[in-house]
Protein backbone atom coordinates (compact mmCIF):
# COMPACT_ATOMS: atom_id res chain seq x y z
CA UNK A 1 0.00 0.00 0.00
CA UNK A 2 2.96 2.38 -0.37
CA UNK A 3 0.81 4.43 -2.63
CA UNK A 4 1.80 7.99 -1.81
CA UNK A 5 -1.25 9.66 -3.33
CA UNK A 6 -3.54 7.40 -1.31
CA UNK A 7 -1.62 8.28 1.85
CA UNK A 8 -1.99 11.98 1.06
CA UNK A 9 -5.72 11.45 0.64
CA UNK A 10 -5.98 9.85 4.05
CA UNK A 11 -3.91 12.65 5.62
CA UNK A 12 -6.19 15.22 3.97
CA UNK A 13 -9.21 13.50 5.45
CA UNK A 14 -7.52 13.45 8.86
CA UNK A 15 -6.68 17.15 8.85
CA UNK A 16 -10.13 18.20 7.63
CA UNK A 17 -11.80 15.99 10.25
CA UNK A 18 -9.69 17.62 12.98
CA UNK A 19 -10.90 21.06 11.82
CA UNK A 20 -14.52 19.92 11.74
CA UNK A 21 -14.09 18.42 15.19
CA UNK A 22 -12.74 21.66 16.66
CA UNK A 23 -15.52 23.71 15.05
CA UNK A 24 -18.39 21.50 16.13
CA UNK A 25 -17.15 20.68 19.62
CA UNK A 26 -16.15 24.20 20.60
CA UNK A 27 -19.88 25.05 20.47
CA UNK A 28 -20.85 22.50 23.11
CA UNK A 29 -21.79 24.31 26.37
CA UNK A 30 -19.93 23.49 29.59
CA UNK A 31 -23.07 22.08 31.17
CA UNK A 32 -22.93 19.22 28.65
CA UNK A 33 -19.22 18.48 28.93
CA UNK A 34 -19.65 15.17 30.74
CA UNK A 35 -22.17 13.83 28.17
CA UNK A 36 -19.90 15.21 25.42
CA UNK A 37 -17.03 13.23 26.80
CA UNK A 38 -19.03 10.02 27.05
CA UNK A 39 -20.54 10.55 23.58
CA UNK A 40 -17.12 11.04 22.00
CA UNK A 41 -16.04 8.01 23.99
CA UNK A 42 -18.80 6.05 22.30
CA UNK A 43 -17.76 7.39 18.89
CA UNK A 44 -14.22 6.17 19.31
CA UNK A 45 -15.90 2.84 19.93
CA UNK A 46 -15.71 2.65 16.12
CA UNK A 47 -12.49 0.89 17.04
CA UNK A 48 -14.80 -2.15 17.26
CA UNK A 49 -15.01 -2.02 13.45
CA UNK A 50 -11.22 -2.17 13.35
CA UNK A 51 -11.21 -5.10 15.77
CA UNK A 52 -13.72 -6.96 13.57
CA UNK A 53 -11.62 -6.32 10.45
CA UNK A 54 -8.38 -7.65 11.94
CA UNK A 55 -10.11 -10.59 13.60
CA UNK A 56 -11.57 -11.61 10.23
CA UNK A 57 -8.15 -11.11 8.60
CA UNK A 58 -6.58 -13.29 11.27
CA UNK A 59 -9.00 -16.15 10.64
CA UNK A 60 -8.80 -15.69 6.88
CA UNK A 61 -5.02 -16.19 7.17
CA UNK A 62 -5.39 -19.56 8.91
CA UNK A 63 -5.86 -18.27 12.45
CA UNK A 64 -4.63 -21.11 14.61
CA UNK A 65 -2.47 -19.35 17.20
CA UNK A 66 -4.49 -19.67 20.44
CA UNK A 67 -2.89 -16.61 22.09
CA UNK A 68 -3.76 -14.36 19.16
CA UNK A 69 -7.26 -15.86 19.01
CA UNK A 70 -7.79 -14.82 22.62
CA UNK A 71 -6.31 -11.37 22.01
CA UNK A 72 -8.59 -10.87 18.99
CA UNK A 73 -11.65 -11.79 21.04
CA UNK A 74 -10.51 -9.46 23.83
CA UNK A 75 -10.06 -6.65 21.28
CA UNK A 76 -13.62 -7.14 20.04
CA UNK A 77 -14.89 -7.32 23.65
CA UNK A 78 -13.17 -4.07 24.62
CA UNK A 79 -14.47 -2.35 21.50
CA UNK A 80 -18.01 -3.55 22.23
CA UNK A 81 -17.84 -2.36 25.86
CA UNK A 82 -16.75 0.99 24.51
CA UNK A 83 -19.55 1.34 21.93
CA UNK A 84 -22.54 -0.09 23.76
CA UNK A 85 -21.61 1.24 27.18
CA UNK A 86 -20.73 4.65 25.81
CA UNK A 87 -24.00 5.27 24.00
CA UNK A 88 -26.11 3.79 26.81
CA UNK A 89 -24.54 5.88 29.54
CA UNK A 90 -24.73 9.05 27.43
CA UNK A 91 -28.43 8.44 26.81
CA UNK A 92 -29.00 7.90 30.52
CA UNK A 93 -27.27 11.15 31.40
CA UNK A 94 -28.96 13.22 28.73
CA UNK A 95 -32.46 12.19 29.68
CA UNK A 96 -31.84 13.83 33.06
CA UNK A 97 -31.28 17.30 31.63
CA UNK A 98 -34.57 19.12 31.96
CA UNK A 99 -35.99 22.55 31.50
CA UNK A 100 -37.80 24.35 34.28
CA UNK A 101 -41.38 23.69 33.14
CA UNK A 102 -41.12 20.08 32.03
CA UNK A 103 -41.60 17.73 35.00
CA UNK A 104 -40.98 14.02 34.65
Amino acid sequence: MTDVSHLIELLTVLVLAVFVGFEVISKVPTTLHTPLMSATNAIHGIVLAGAIVVTAAFFAGGGSNPLVTVLAIVAVTLGAINVFGGFAVTERMLQMFRRKEGGK
Binding site: M1, G45, V47, F58, I81, G86, R98
Partner: protein
Protein backbone atom coordinates in the same frame (compact mmCIF):
# COMPACT_ATOMS: atom_id res chain seq x y z
CA UNK B 1 -20.75 -3.69 -3.21
CA UNK B 2 -17.69 -1.65 -2.31
CA UNK B 3 -19.28 1.52 -3.61
CA UNK B 4 -22.41 0.93 -1.56
CA UNK B 5 -20.31 0.22 1.52
CA UNK B 6 -18.29 3.39 1.07
CA UNK B 7 -21.43 5.47 0.60
CA UNK B 8 -22.99 4.02 3.75
CA UNK B 9 -19.77 4.79 5.63
CA UNK B 10 -20.18 8.35 4.44
CA UNK B 11 -23.73 8.40 5.81
CA UNK B 12 -22.38 7.13 9.13
CA UNK B 13 -19.72 9.84 9.21
CA UNK B 14 -22.31 12.54 8.48
CA UNK B 15 -24.46 11.18 11.32
CA UNK B 16 -21.51 11.32 13.74
CA UNK B 17 -20.80 14.96 12.91
CA UNK B 18 -24.49 15.92 13.03
CA UNK B 19 -24.79 14.07 16.33
CA UNK B 20 -21.93 16.06 17.83
CA UNK B 21 -23.45 19.23 16.42
CA UNK B 22 -26.76 18.57 18.22
CA UNK B 23 -24.87 18.24 21.51
CA UNK B 24 -24.60 22.04 21.44
CA UNK B 25 -27.76 22.49 23.51
CA UNK B 26 -29.51 20.36 26.13
CA UNK B 27 -32.89 20.11 24.32
CA UNK B 28 -31.30 18.60 21.18
CA UNK B 29 -28.54 16.61 22.85
CA UNK B 30 -30.46 13.35 23.06
CA UNK B 31 -31.24 13.51 19.37
CA UNK B 32 -27.52 14.04 18.80
CA UNK B 33 -26.56 10.96 20.78
CA UNK B 34 -29.14 8.86 18.94
CA UNK B 35 -28.02 10.06 15.51
CA UNK B 36 -24.48 9.09 16.39
CA UNK B 37 -25.70 5.69 17.60
CA UNK B 38 -27.53 5.13 14.30
CA UNK B 39 -24.35 6.08 12.46
CA UNK B 40 -22.44 3.55 14.54
CA UNK B 41 -25.00 0.84 13.82
CA UNK B 42 -24.73 1.43 10.05
CA UNK B 43 -20.94 1.45 10.15
CA UNK B 44 -20.73 -1.77 12.17
CA UNK B 45 -23.24 -3.63 10.01
CA UNK B 46 -21.28 -2.64 6.89
CA UNK B 47 -18.07 -3.97 8.42
CA UNK B 48 -19.75 -7.25 9.30
CA UNK B 49 -21.14 -7.60 5.79
CA UNK B 50 -17.74 -6.94 4.25
CA UNK B 51 -15.91 -9.49 6.38
CA UNK B 52 -18.31 -12.13 4.97
CA UNK B 53 -18.66 -13.89 8.30
CA UNK B 54 -15.03 -14.98 8.53
CA UNK B 55 -14.24 -15.66 12.19
CA UNK B 56 -17.87 -14.90 13.02
CA UNK B 57 -17.90 -16.93 16.21
CA UNK B 58 -14.97 -15.02 17.71
CA UNK B 59 -16.56 -11.71 16.74
CA UNK B 60 -19.91 -12.83 18.15
CA UNK B 61 -18.42 -13.96 21.48
CA UNK B 62 -16.54 -10.70 21.93
CA UNK B 63 -19.49 -8.52 20.93
CA UNK B 64 -21.99 -10.28 23.17
CA UNK B 65 -19.69 -10.21 26.21
CA UNK B 66 -18.65 -6.61 25.58
CA UNK B 67 -22.16 -5.33 24.90
CA UNK B 68 -23.49 -7.04 28.02
CA UNK B 69 -20.77 -5.63 30.26
CA UNK B 70 -21.07 -2.19 28.70
CA UNK B 71 -24.83 -1.86 28.94
CA UNK B 72 -25.20 -3.40 32.40
CA UNK B 73 -22.50 -1.10 33.74
CA UNK B 74 -24.09 1.90 32.03
CA UNK B 75 -27.49 1.20 33.57
CA UNK B 76 -26.20 0.44 37.06
CA UNK B 77 -23.55 3.09 37.54
CA UNK B 78 -24.30 5.87 40.02
CA UNK B 79 -24.09 9.36 38.64
CA UNK B 80 -21.46 10.24 41.23
CA UNK B 81 -19.29 7.45 39.79
CA UNK B 82 -19.50 8.80 36.24
CA UNK B 83 -15.87 9.98 36.06
CA UNK B 84 -14.48 6.51 36.71
CA UNK B 85 -17.03 4.99 34.32
CA UNK B 86 -15.93 7.29 31.52
CA UNK B 87 -12.31 6.45 32.36
CA UNK B 88 -13.08 2.73 32.00
CA UNK B 89 -14.86 3.06 28.64
CA UNK B 90 -12.01 5.21 27.46
CA UNK B 91 -9.47 2.61 28.56
CA UNK B 92 -11.47 -0.08 26.73
CA UNK B 93 -11.16 1.86 23.47
CA UNK B 94 -7.44 2.37 23.97
CA UNK B 95 -6.94 -1.29 24.81
CA UNK B 96 -8.82 -2.37 21.69
CA UNK B 97 -6.64 -0.08 19.54
CA UNK B 98 -3.49 -1.60 21.07
CA UNK B 99 -4.68 -5.19 20.57
CA UNK B 100 -5.65 -4.47 16.96
CA UNK B 101 -1.96 -3.71 16.41
CA UNK B 102 -0.94 -7.01 18.01
CA UNK B 103 -3.41 -9.06 15.96
CA UNK B 104 -2.53 -7.22 12.76
CA UNK B 105 1.14 -7.96 13.42
CA UNK B 106 0.47 -11.66 13.89
CA UNK B 107 -1.49 -11.67 10.62
CA UNK B 108 1.60 -10.22 8.93
CA UNK B 109 3.88 -12.83 10.52
CA UNK B 110 1.62 -15.65 9.37
CA UNK B 111 1.35 -14.21 5.86
CA UNK B 112 4.96 -14.98 4.93
CA UNK B 113 5.60 -11.48 3.59
CA UNK B 114 9.17 -10.32 4.11
CA UNK B 115 8.49 -6.83 5.44
CA UNK B 116 5.59 -4.61 6.47
CA UNK B 117 4.66 -1.68 4.30
CA UNK B 118 6.34 1.34 5.97
CA UNK B 119 3.08 3.28 6.40
CA UNK B 120 1.41 0.27 8.02
CA UNK B 121 4.47 -0.33 10.21
CA UNK B 122 4.47 3.26 11.48
CA UNK B 123 0.71 3.31 12.04
CA UNK B 124 0.74 -0.08 13.73
CA UNK B 125 3.46 0.79 16.18
CA UNK B 126 2.10 4.27 16.99
CA UNK B 127 -1.48 3.16 17.54
CA UNK B 128 -0.30 0.27 19.69
CA UNK B 129 1.89 2.54 21.86
CA UNK B 130 -0.69 5.29 22.30
CA UNK B 131 -3.54 2.82 22.79
CA UNK B 132 -1.57 0.93 25.45
CA UNK B 133 -0.66 4.15 27.29
CA UNK B 134 -4.31 5.23 27.21
CA UNK B 135 -5.49 1.81 28.40
CA UNK B 136 -3.09 1.54 31.33
CA UNK B 137 -3.44 5.22 32.26
CA UNK B 138 -7.23 4.98 32.24
CA UNK B 139 -7.15 1.94 34.52
CA UNK B 140 -5.01 3.84 37.05
CA UNK B 141 -7.32 6.86 36.76
CA UNK B 142 -10.26 4.52 37.41
CA UNK B 143 -8.57 3.01 40.48
CA UNK B 144 -7.83 6.48 41.87
CA UNK B 145 -11.35 7.79 41.24
CA UNK B 146 -12.93 4.64 42.68
CA UNK B 147 -10.60 5.18 45.68
CA UNK B 148 -9.21 1.68 45.38
CA UNK B 149 -5.89 3.46 45.55
CA UNK B 150 -5.11 6.82 47.09
CA UNK B 151 -6.16 9.95 45.22
CA UNK B 152 -3.03 11.69 46.45
CA UNK B 153 -0.09 11.89 44.05
CA UNK B 154 2.23 8.89 44.32
CA UNK B 155 5.82 10.01 44.00
CA UNK B 156 9.22 8.43 44.51
CA UNK B 157 12.78 9.59 43.95
CA UNK B 158 13.95 9.45 40.37
CA UNK B 159 10.38 9.18 39.05
CA UNK B 160 10.96 11.47 36.08
CA UNK B 161 14.17 9.64 35.20
CA UNK B 162 12.45 6.25 35.24
CA UNK B 163 9.67 7.62 33.02
CA UNK B 164 12.19 9.18 30.66
CA UNK B 165 14.10 5.89 30.38
CA UNK B 166 10.93 3.96 29.58
CA UNK B 167 9.96 6.58 27.00
CA UNK B 168 13.42 6.24 25.45
CA UNK B 169 13.06 2.46 25.33
CA UNK B 170 9.70 2.88 23.58
CA UNK B 171 11.21 5.23 21.00
CA UNK B 172 14.15 2.85 20.41
CA UNK B 173 12.03 -0.31 20.08
CA UNK B 174 9.42 1.50 17.98
CA UNK B 175 12.15 2.85 15.70
CA UNK B 176 13.61 -0.64 15.38
CA UNK B 177 10.20 -2.04 14.50
CA UNK B 178 9.68 0.53 11.75
CA UNK B 179 13.23 0.35 10.38
CA UNK B 180 13.17 -3.44 10.22
CA UNK B 181 9.73 -3.50 8.59
CA UNK B 182 8.42 -5.54 11.50
CA UNK B 183 11.06 -8.26 11.32
CA UNK B 184 12.50 -7.74 14.78
CA UNK B 185 12.42 -10.60 17.34
CA UNK B 186 8.94 -11.21 18.72
CA UNK B 187 10.28 -10.65 22.25
CA UNK B 188 11.24 -7.09 21.35
CA UNK B 189 7.73 -6.51 19.99
CA UNK B 190 6.08 -7.63 23.21
CA UNK B 191 8.71 -5.69 25.16
CA UNK B 192 7.53 -2.59 23.34
CA UNK B 193 3.92 -3.31 24.31
CA UNK B 194 4.94 -3.89 27.94
CA UNK B 195 6.94 -0.65 28.03
CA UNK B 196 3.97 1.35 26.69
CA UNK B 197 1.67 -0.18 29.32
CA UNK B 198 4.21 0.62 32.05
CA UNK B 199 4.48 4.24 30.90
CA UNK B 200 0.69 4.57 31.00
CA UNK B 201 0.65 3.38 34.63
CA UNK B 202 3.61 5.49 35.72
CA UNK B 203 2.50 8.76 34.15
CA UNK B 204 -0.87 8.79 35.93
CA UNK B 205 0.48 7.67 39.36
CA UNK B 206 1.87 11.08 40.38
CA UNK B 207 -1.28 12.96 39.35
CA UNK B 208 -3.66 13.86 42.17
CA UNK B 209 -7.44 13.50 42.40
CA UNK B 210 -8.33 17.14 41.74
CA UNK B 211 -6.30 17.09 38.53
CA UNK B 212 -8.38 14.19 37.18
CA UNK B 213 -10.55 16.43 34.93
CA UNK B 214 -7.39 17.19 32.96
CA UNK B 215 -6.16 13.61 32.92
CA UNK B 216 -9.47 12.12 31.80
CA UNK B 217 -9.74 14.68 29.00
CA UNK B 218 -6.17 14.01 27.94
CA UNK B 219 -6.64 10.22 27.94
CA UNK B 220 -9.79 10.73 25.89
CA UNK B 221 -7.81 12.59 23.25
CA UNK B 222 -5.10 9.88 23.36
CA UNK B 223 -7.63 7.17 22.57
CA UNK B 224 -9.02 9.31 19.75
CA UNK B 225 -5.52 9.67 18.35
CA UNK B 226 -4.87 5.93 18.66
CA UNK B 227 -8.10 5.18 16.79
CA UNK B 228 -7.27 7.67 14.02
CA UNK B 229 -3.85 6.08 13.55
CA UNK B 230 -5.43 2.63 13.55
CA UNK B 231 -7.38 3.96 10.57
CA UNK B 232 -4.10 4.37 8.70
CA UNK B 233 -3.07 0.86 9.74
CA UNK B 234 -6.13 -0.86 8.33
CA UNK B 235 -6.86 1.75 5.65
CA UNK B 236 -10.20 2.95 7.02
CA UNK B 237 -11.44 6.50 6.48
CA UNK B 238 -14.15 5.81 9.06
CA UNK B 239 -11.66 5.22 11.85
CA UNK B 240 -9.54 8.18 10.82
CA UNK B 241 -12.47 10.59 10.96
CA UNK B 242 -13.95 9.25 14.20
CA UNK B 243 -10.55 9.27 15.85
CA UNK B 244 -9.91 12.84 14.69
CA UNK B 245 -13.26 14.05 16.05
CA UNK B 246 -12.60 12.50 19.44
CA UNK B 247 -9.02 13.73 19.48
CA UNK B 248 -10.24 17.27 18.81
CA UNK B 249 -12.86 17.03 21.54
CA UNK B 250 -10.41 15.67 24.11
CA UNK B 251 -7.88 18.35 23.24
CA UNK B 252 -10.42 21.17 23.62
CA UNK B 253 -11.50 19.87 27.02
CA UNK B 254 -7.90 19.36 28.16
CA UNK B 255 -6.98 22.93 27.26
CA UNK B 256 -10.16 24.28 28.91
CA UNK B 257 -9.46 22.43 32.12
CA UNK B 258 -5.84 23.58 32.19
CA UNK B 259 -6.98 27.16 31.69
CA UNK B 260 -9.56 26.85 34.47
CA UNK B 261 -6.72 25.95 36.83
CA UNK B 262 -4.28 28.44 35.36
CA UNK B 263 -1.78 25.64 34.87
CA UNK B 264 -0.07 24.26 31.83
CA UNK B 265 -0.64 20.66 30.85
CA UNK B 266 3.02 19.85 31.56
CA UNK B 267 2.60 21.26 35.07
CA UNK B 268 -0.41 19.00 35.65
CA UNK B 269 1.39 15.94 34.30
CA UNK B 270 4.74 16.46 35.97
CA UNK B 271 3.99 18.82 38.87
CA UNK B 272 2.64 16.20 41.35
CA UNK B 273 0.42 19.06 42.59
CA UNK B 274 -0.92 18.71 46.10
CA UNK B 275 1.74 16.23 47.25
CA UNK B 276 3.24 18.92 49.49
CA UNK B 277 0.34 18.55 51.93
CA UNK B 278 1.30 19.89 55.33
CA UNK B 279 4.27 21.95 54.23
CA UNK B 280 2.23 24.34 52.08
CA UNK B 281 0.47 26.60 54.62
CA UNK B 282 3.73 28.41 55.37
CA UNK B 283 3.80 29.64 51.80
CA UNK B 284 0.19 30.76 52.03
CA UNK B 285 1.03 33.23 54.75
CA UNK B 286 -0.99 32.69 57.88
CA UNK B 287 0.41 29.35 58.98
CA UNK B 288 -1.37 28.40 62.20
CA UNK B 289 -5.03 27.61 62.81
CA UNK B 290 -7.52 30.00 61.28
CA UNK B 291 -9.98 32.13 63.23
CA UNK B 292 -13.33 31.13 61.84
CA UNK B 293 -16.91 31.72 62.88
CA UNK B 294 -19.13 28.67 63.25
CA UNK B 295 -22.91 28.96 62.93
CA UNK B 296 -25.88 26.69 63.62
CA UNK B 297 -28.26 25.31 61.02
CA UNK B 298 -31.10 27.39 62.48
CA UNK B 299 -29.19 30.66 61.97
CA UNK B 300 -28.39 29.73 58.39
CA UNK B 301 -31.99 28.67 57.74
CA UNK B 302 -33.26 32.11 58.80
CA UNK B 303 -30.66 33.78 56.61
CA UNK B 304 -31.64 31.65 53.61
CA UNK B 305 -35.39 31.90 54.10
CA UNK B 306 -35.39 35.70 54.17
CA UNK B 307 -32.89 36.15 51.33
CA UNK B 308 -33.97 37.28 47.89
CA UNK B 309 -31.15 35.56 46.00
CA UNK B 310 -29.20 32.46 47.06
CA UNK B 311 -26.29 30.99 45.12
CA UNK B 312 -25.30 27.36 45.66
CA UNK B 313 -21.64 26.61 44.98
CA UNK B 314 -21.19 22.84 44.70
CA UNK B 315 -17.87 21.01 44.65
CA UNK B 316 -16.46 17.51 44.90
CA UNK B 317 -17.66 17.33 48.52
CA UNK B 318 -21.26 17.33 47.26
CA UNK B 319 -20.49 14.32 45.06
CA UNK B 320 -18.72 12.45 47.85
CA UNK B 321 -21.65 13.02 50.24
CA UNK B 322 -24.18 12.17 47.46
CA UNK B 323 -25.92 15.38 48.51
CA UNK B 324 -27.35 16.48 45.14
CA UNK B 325 -30.93 15.40 45.93
CA UNK B 326 -30.78 17.07 49.34
CA UNK B 327 -29.54 20.24 47.69
CA UNK B 328 -32.49 20.19 45.30
CA UNK B 329 -34.91 19.63 48.21
CA UNK B 330 -33.49 22.70 49.97
CA UNK B 331 -33.73 24.71 46.76
CA UNK B 332 -37.41 23.70 46.40
CA UNK B 333 -38.14 24.88 49.95
CA UNK B 334 -36.48 28.21 49.28
CA UNK B 335 -38.15 28.71 45.91
CA UNK B 336 -41.52 28.01 47.52
CA UNK B 337 -40.79 31.02 49.73
CA UNK B 338 -39.98 33.16 46.72
CA UNK B 339 -36.19 33.02 47.01
CA UNK B 340 -34.31 33.05 43.70
CA UNK B 341 -31.94 30.07 43.61
CA UNK B 342 -28.97 29.74 41.27
CA UNK B 343 -25.97 27.43 41.07
CA UNK B 344 -22.41 28.59 40.36
CA UNK B 345 -20.26 25.90 38.80
CA UNK B 346 -16.51 26.16 38.41
CA UNK B 347 -15.11 24.33 35.36
CA UNK B 348 -12.91 22.07 37.48
CA UNK B 349 -15.38 21.44 40.31
CA UNK B 350 -15.57 17.68 40.72
CA UNK B 351 -13.53 15.05 38.95
CA UNK B 352 -14.36 15.53 35.29
CA UNK B 353 -15.58 18.32 33.00
CA UNK B 354 -19.27 18.96 33.69
CA UNK B 355 -19.40 16.59 36.68
CA UNK B 356 -21.51 18.91 38.88
CA UNK B 357 -23.94 19.63 36.05
CA UNK B 358 -24.71 15.94 35.58
CA UNK B 359 -25.23 15.38 39.31
CA UNK B 360 -27.60 18.34 39.61
CA UNK B 361 -29.41 17.27 36.45
CA UNK B 362 -29.91 13.88 38.09
CA UNK B 363 -31.56 15.69 41.02
CA UNK B 364 -33.92 17.43 38.55
CA UNK B 365 -32.34 20.86 38.82
CA UNK B 366 -33.29 22.69 35.60
CA UNK B 367 -30.16 23.41 33.59
CA UNK B 368 -31.10 27.09 33.20
CA UNK B 369 -30.20 27.56 36.87
CA UNK B 370 -26.67 26.20 36.41
CA UNK B 371 -24.33 29.11 35.74
CA UNK B 372 -20.76 28.68 34.61
CA UNK B 373 -18.04 30.88 36.02
CA UNK B 374 -18.39 33.79 33.56
CA UNK B 375 -22.13 34.07 34.20
CA UNK B 376 -21.97 33.39 37.93
CA UNK B 377 -19.34 35.92 38.99
CA UNK B 378 -21.33 39.06 38.05
CA UNK B 379 -24.20 37.66 40.17
CA UNK B 380 -22.29 37.43 43.48
CA UNK B 381 -22.32 41.16 44.42
CA UNK B 382 -26.13 41.04 44.39
CA UNK B 383 -26.34 37.65 46.11
CA UNK B 384 -27.58 37.58 49.71
CA UNK B 385 -26.23 34.16 50.62
CA UNK B 386 -23.63 32.07 48.85
CA UNK B 387 -23.83 28.48 50.13
CA UNK B 388 -20.57 26.65 49.43
CA UNK B 389 -21.16 22.89 49.46
CA UNK B 390 -17.96 20.87 49.45
CA UNK B 391 -15.98 23.27 47.29
CA UNK B 392 -12.77 24.84 48.57
CA UNK B 393 -9.88 25.80 46.30
CA UNK B 394 -12.16 27.13 43.55
CA UNK B 395 -13.48 29.74 46.02
CA UNK B 396 -10.10 30.75 47.48
CA UNK B 397 -9.58 34.52 47.10
CA UNK B 398 -5.84 33.99 47.57
CA UNK B 399 -5.86 33.02 43.89
CA UNK B 400 -6.66 36.65 43.07
CA UNK B 401 -4.31 38.47 45.42
CA UNK B 402 -1.61 36.36 47.08
CA UNK B 403 1.25 36.12 44.60
CA UNK B 404 3.04 33.45 46.63
CA UNK B 405 0.01 31.15 46.68
CA UNK B 406 0.37 27.96 44.63
CA UNK B 407 -3.00 28.67 43.05
CA UNK B 408 -2.28 32.35 42.31
CA UNK B 409 -3.83 33.32 38.97
CA UNK B 410 -6.39 30.53 38.89
CA UNK B 411 -9.80 31.94 37.96
CA UNK B 412 -12.15 31.49 40.93
CA UNK B 413 -15.79 31.96 41.85
CA UNK B 414 -16.05 35.31 43.65
CA UNK B 415 -18.18 34.00 46.53
CA UNK B 416 -16.53 36.48 48.93
CA UNK B 417 -18.41 39.29 47.14
CA UNK B 418 -21.76 37.94 48.31
CA UNK B 419 -23.34 39.61 51.36
CA UNK B 420 -23.04 36.37 53.34
CA UNK B 421 -21.04 33.25 52.67
CA UNK B 422 -21.86 29.98 54.41
CA UNK B 423 -19.35 27.19 53.93
CA UNK B 424 -20.48 23.61 54.50
CA UNK B 425 -17.42 21.62 55.43
CA UNK B 426 -16.61 18.48 57.35
CA UNK B 427 -13.63 19.98 59.18
CA UNK B 428 -11.02 22.70 58.83
CA UNK B 429 -8.80 20.42 56.76
CA UNK B 430 -7.36 22.30 53.82
CA UNK B 431 -8.50 21.55 50.30
CA UNK B 432 -6.77 19.46 47.70
CA UNK B 433 -4.08 22.06 47.03
CA UNK B 434 -3.16 21.87 50.73
CA UNK B 435 -3.41 25.60 51.33
CA UNK B 436 -5.41 27.79 53.70
CA UNK B 437 -8.47 29.52 52.39
CA UNK B 438 -8.53 33.15 53.63
CA UNK B 439 -12.22 33.25 52.69
CA UNK B 440 -13.02 31.48 55.96
CA UNK B 441 -11.63 34.33 58.05
CA UNK B 442 -13.56 37.04 56.26
CA UNK B 443 -16.20 38.88 58.32
CA UNK B 444 -19.04 37.94 55.94
CA UNK B 445 -18.17 34.22 56.06
CA UNK B 446 -19.31 31.56 58.52
CA UNK B 447 -18.83 27.81 58.69
CA UNK B 448 -21.46 25.10 59.11
CA UNK B 449 -19.53 21.98 60.06
CA UNK B 450 -20.71 18.48 59.28
CA UNK B 451 -21.31 16.03 56.46
CA UNK B 452 -22.63 17.94 53.43
CA UNK B 453 -25.75 15.82 53.03
CA UNK B 454 -26.64 15.88 56.74
CA UNK B 455 -26.07 19.64 56.89
CA UNK B 456 -28.23 20.35 53.86
CA UNK B 457 -31.00 18.07 55.15
CA UNK B 458 -30.79 19.92 58.47
CA UNK B 459 -31.14 23.26 56.68
CA UNK B 460 -34.16 22.02 54.74
CA UNK B 461 -35.87 20.89 57.95
CA UNK B 462 -35.04 24.18 59.67
CA UNK B 463 -36.39 26.25 56.75
CA UNK B 464 -39.58 24.17 56.76
CA UNK B 465 -40.03 24.83 60.47
CA UNK B 466 -39.90 28.60 60.12
Amino acid sequence: MNVAASLLDLVAIALFILGLHFLNSPPTARLGNRLAAVGMFIALVMVLVQTLGVGWWAIAIGTVIGATIGVVAAVRVKMTAMPQMVALYNGAGGGAAALIGVVEYSVFLASGHTALDPVVAIALVLSMIIGAISFAGSIIAFLKLQEVMTGRPITYPGQQIVNALIALAIVALGGWFIASGGTLPIGAFYGLLAAALALGVLFVLPIGGADMPVVISLLNSFTGLAVAITGFEIDSVLLIICGALVGASGTILTVDMGRAMNRSITNVLFGAFGSGGGSEPAAAGSGGPQNVRSVSADDVAVMLAYASKVMFVPGYGMAVAQAQHSVKALADQLEARGVKVLYAIHPVAGRMPGHMNVLLAEANVPYEQLLDMEDANPEFPTTDVALVIGANDVTNPAARSVKSSPIYGMPILDVDKAANVIVLKRSMRSGFAGIDNPLYEMPNCAMLFGDAKASVDGLTAAVKGL
